[in-house]
């Protein structure tokens, strides 16, 4: 294989802005892997205001022969197999089996007709249409394995519930656990009989620290023709990505995206919010250094670090919930686990005695106490 293709500036290499975030988040200990130093630095990157298009949405304007693609596939498989359980043993990262599955998904996203690579006997034309250059596919898979770049950043999207959301460096990749937040909202909305403005379904919903906009889009679809949603994020990258995702699901009339810190952009809505949801940063600062490489080296610290005990933002949300929610309003927060859940419930029952009712701790599918929900008195 000619190595020169790796060194050319790839259209898919992370932009400088995301590099800065990356560097900030890895300030602890991680030295760049050789592949980074081999990449040409980009002197003056165009500051893009549009989010990157996920791989699967790009036009299939490139092509490669079946045998070249198979060569790439075999190379990628060998690389994936060589990992064994190394990552799992070191930081609970992916094993070979996970990586093999990701490789199939990369093929799914990158090829116009992925089935031809799996069943070449049905192929008529030995040229296959690609959504990225073959050289970029080598580069992407190297980034995945050698830099531990999260698969979702590699393909530019995350499949979450029944959605496919665009994600990129600078935006937290929505977690499978968080899917349940939408089910929790669906549960309380369904119980409601009517859908007037006074109720939950027809009311104003707020998703704070939305990142890719995942929870908000999920909720907007649960509300159907009713209610509206405001989403807030401090990060300008997140705001752009959330706007992109909202538009892709044609919800721009229902969801408005605002940039700002937590409740700041919501002045004037005190006591008028029907539902408040958030997956705030909740990892204690001391744990950031030991995170799985995909998370610690690549995801934005802004979305992860919840202060010394991880509770800083959750407590702030509690205060806000008391002042922003209307009577009967619903809230759901994601937490780090049992300790934070218990602390939060205790805090609400004592410091905000009488302000909330029906406080509940809800487990995720792995059996970890993950969410706190309740209603404003």
């Amino acid at each position: 294989m000619n190595l020169s293709i790796f060194t050319k500036t790839s259209i898919l290499s992370p932009t400088l802005s995301s590099r800065i975030i990356l560097n900030r988040s890895i300030s602890n200990s991680i030295t760049p892997t050789p592949i980074i130093s081999r990449c040409y630095p980009i002197p003056n990157p165009p500051i893009s205001t549009n989010p990157k298009t996920p791989l699967f949405l790009r036009p299939p304007t490139f092509s490669a022969t079946l045998s070249d693609l198979q060569k790439w596939q075999n190379w990628a498989k060998t690389l994936a197999s060589s990992i064994g359980s190394t990552f799992t043993d070191s930081d609970n990262g992916p094993n070979s089996e996970n990586l093999h599955r990701e490789l199939n998904w990369l093929i799914e996203d990158a090829l116009e007709n992925p089935q031809f690579l799996q069943n070449p006997q049905f192929i008529e034309n030995p040229q296959l249409q690609l959504r990225a250059e073959l050289g970029d596919l080598y580069e992407l898979w190297k980034q995945r394995i050698e830099e531990r770049r999260p698969f979702q950043y590699v393909v530019g999207c995350e499949h979450w519930r029944d959605l496919v959301l665009s994600v990129e460096e600078g935006v937290l990749i929505p977690r499978p656990e968080t899917e349940l937040m939408v089910d929790l909202v669906e549960g309380v909305v369904k119980e409601e009989e009517d859908d007037d403005d006074d109720g939950l379904k027809g009311g104003l919903w707020v998703d704070l620290g939305t990142g890719s906009g995942a929870i908000a889009i999920g909720i907007a679809r649960v509300l159907g023709g009713f209610g509206r949603v405001i989403v807030v994020d401090l990060s300008s990258v997140a705001v752009r990505v959330a706007e992109f995702n909202v538009k892709r699901y044609n919800l721009q009339d229902k969801i408005s995206v605002k940039q700002g810190s937590w409740f700041e952009p919501l002045s004037g809505f005190e006591g008028r919010v029907a539902g408040l949801v958030s997956n705030p940063p909740y990892i204690p600062s001391g744990h950031i250094g030991g995170l799985q490489a995909e998370v610690g080296r690549h995801e934005p610290r802004l979305a992860l670090d919840g202060g010394e005990d991880g509770m800083a933002d959750l407590l702030h949300l509690c205060n806000g919930a008391a002042s922003m929610l209307k009577s009967g309003g619903f809230f759901a927060f994601e937490t780090n686990g049992e300790d934070q859940c218990k602390f939060l419930v205790d805090h609400m029952e004592t410091v905000y005695y009488g302000s909330f009712y029906n406080l509940k701790i809800v487990k995720d599918f792995a059996g970890i106490e993950r969410f706190v929900t309740g209603f404003r008195s």
């Binding site: 609970n92 992916p94 089996e97 996970n98 599955r101 990701e102 998904w105 069943n119 999260p150 698969f151 979702q152 499949h159 979450w160 519930r161 029944d162 959605l163 937290l172 990749i173 977690r175 499978p176 656990e177 968080t178 899917e179 997956n279 940063p281 909740y282 990892i283 744990h287 995170l291 799985q292 995909e294 998370v295 995801e299 979305a303 992860l304 994601e334 937490t335 780090n336 686990g337 995720d364 599918f365 792995a366 059996g367 970890i368 993950r370």
Partner: protein, 476 residues
């Protein structure tokens, strides 16, 4: 990981008894017919007992049908006038004439007509023509009741079945009509000395003869759910890596078979062996009649070969168990799953989860607590989709279990279904000391195991379907 192995009560046998069955084969001199059905056919079809109120409605319907059937049989003997040619020749008459059937290339109308008439009779036999007519009368009778639409779900079911059966009846009647018209036309052409017209009609007969061969096949798949898509599940028997490798080969055989037939194949759940093959796997096969064909593969498949995993190069016998369950359409499920009966777990997840972890693996396992039946999926890209996919597998397994249960209460199906249970050895693949694949149910065999393992199993399936259809007809 052993906790993931499914509890297979759905098949009336616990997994441990399957393993026991496998192991029992390694005991010398054990009788190969180890798997005789333990369920004796129960004769419930006497039909005159009224359905009790507390039996589920679909069962009582079945029984009702039986009791009605008895009475309606009397009426149905006054059948409509049979179609015939201008000089009184009927389809049955043609069969009775026993005209010699020549090769298709021979342009002889009598030969074509005889072949067509035989095909029509076969199709009628396979459709259980007499029963179909009775059932149709019963359904029409029910549809004419003024209060039928008070229960729209039931009415919809009746009306759909009526439509399907009516379609089949019309199609066969149309075929008979067409045959007789062509014969009339040929006779007319001869009287008029119109050579072109005669040739044209003989050609039309030939076309009919050819297309009816296809239809004969379709008529084999007349079961209620045969047209459905399905799940195929393969599980390795006892015996470690050699067994797992064999299970992997069997799964590969079905994947290739399905692709050959143009079906969509998706892996839903797969647990690989440590060294080779699979411990178990489930694939979803999408396409018309996938269930109808694949259901012929249910049972234990036996491999005899020199194991590549045995350094002493000894001959090994391994087993893989195959289960097939239909994917019923919305509204035709036999079991309503209640959300509160489910335990949904994420598995293969360790550590703190949440923001701590970046995972693309969101495997979900669902346990139906009342039955202990489980289903898992890890091949979708979101947890939500894994859950939906696992739910579909669970629904399919519960439906199948309910169908078996109902069938056991209904003597008509008992024989055919219990024969097909999970633990019965149905086929033997011998790679050493000789090469042969033999179906133990039909004795159909081929001497080229490679082609079979590459997915050429249609002949096995068809011979089995034909044989079981004939058996069923004999019983009736």
């Amino acid at each position: 990981m052993s906790s993931i192995i499914l509890i297979r009560r759905a098949y009336n046998r616990s997994s441990s008894s399957i393993l026991f069955r496998f192991q029992s084969l390694f005991i010398p001199n054990s009788h190969p017919q180890f798997s005789t059905s333990t369920v004796k056919p129960q004769n419930h079809a006497s039909g005159f007992d009224l359905p009790s109120k507390n039996v589920s409605s679909s069962i009582s319907n079945e029984r009702l049908n039986f009791s009605y059937r008895r009475r309606l049989l009397l009426f149905s003997t006054q059948a409509a006038v049979e179609a015939s040619t201008s000089d009184g020749l009927t389809v049955d008459g043609i069969v009775a004439n026993q005209w010699t059937i020549l090769d298709e290339n021979e342009s002889d109308w009598k030969s074509h007509a005889s072949a067509i008439a035989q095909s029509i009779c076969l199709i009628k036999k396979r459709l259980k023509w007499k029963e179909l007519k009775v059932r149709l009368e019963l359904l029409s009778f029910q549809l004419e009741k003024p209060d039928i639409w008070d229960d729209p779900v039931h009415a919809g079911k009746i009306s759909r079945e009526h439509g399907t059966l009516m379609g089949k009846m019309k199609e066969v009647n149309g075929l008979e009509q067409e045959l007789l018209e062509h014969i009339d036309m040929i006779k007319l052409a001869r009287e008029e000395d119109d050579v072109d017209l005669e040739l044209e009609s003989v050609k039309a007969l030939l076309r009919m003869r050819q297309s009816l061969k296809e239809k004969e096949l379709e008529a084999l798949l007349a079961g209620e759910h045969d047209s459905c898509s399905c799940f195929i599940e393969v599980q390795a028997g006892a015996g470690g890596t050699e067994s797992m490798d064999w299970a992997g080969m069997v799964m590969q055989m079905y994947k290739m078979w399905a692709q050959r037939r143009g079906y969509g194949v998706t892996v839903v759940d797969e647990m690989r062996g440590e060294i080779a093959g699979i411990k178990r796997a489930t694939v979803r096969v999408d396409g018309e009649y996938a269930y109808g064909y694949a259901k012929a593969e249910v049972g234990a498949h036996r491999l005899v070969r020199i194991s590549p995993f045995d350094s002493a190069k000894r001959r090994h016998t391994s087993f893989a168990a195959v289960a097939v369950t239909p994917i019923l359409g919305d509204g035709s499920h036999h079991v309503q799953i209640s959300e509160s009966d489910l335990r949904i777990e994420r598995y293969r997840s360790g550590g703190a989860g949440g923001q701590h972890a970046n995972v693309t693996d969101s495997a979900v396992r669902i346990t139906h607590i009342p039955t202990g039946i489980t289903a898992a999926c890890q091949n979708e890209r979101s947890q939500h989709q894994n859950k939906a996919s696992a739910m579909a597998v669970l629904q399919s397994r519960l439906d199948q279990r309910e169908m078996v249960r109902q069938a056991q209460m209904n003597a008509q199906y008992t024989q055919s279904l219990t024969d097909n249970s999970w633990g019965n050895q149905i086929r033997s693949y011998v790679l050493h000391p000789y090469r042969m694949v033999k179906d133990l149910r039909t004795n159909f065999e081929v001497s080229d195991p490679d082609s079979v393992l590459e997915g050429e199993i249609d002949d096995f399936i068809l011979s089995y379907l034909t044989e079981s259809m004939d058996k069923e007809n004999d019983q009736v």
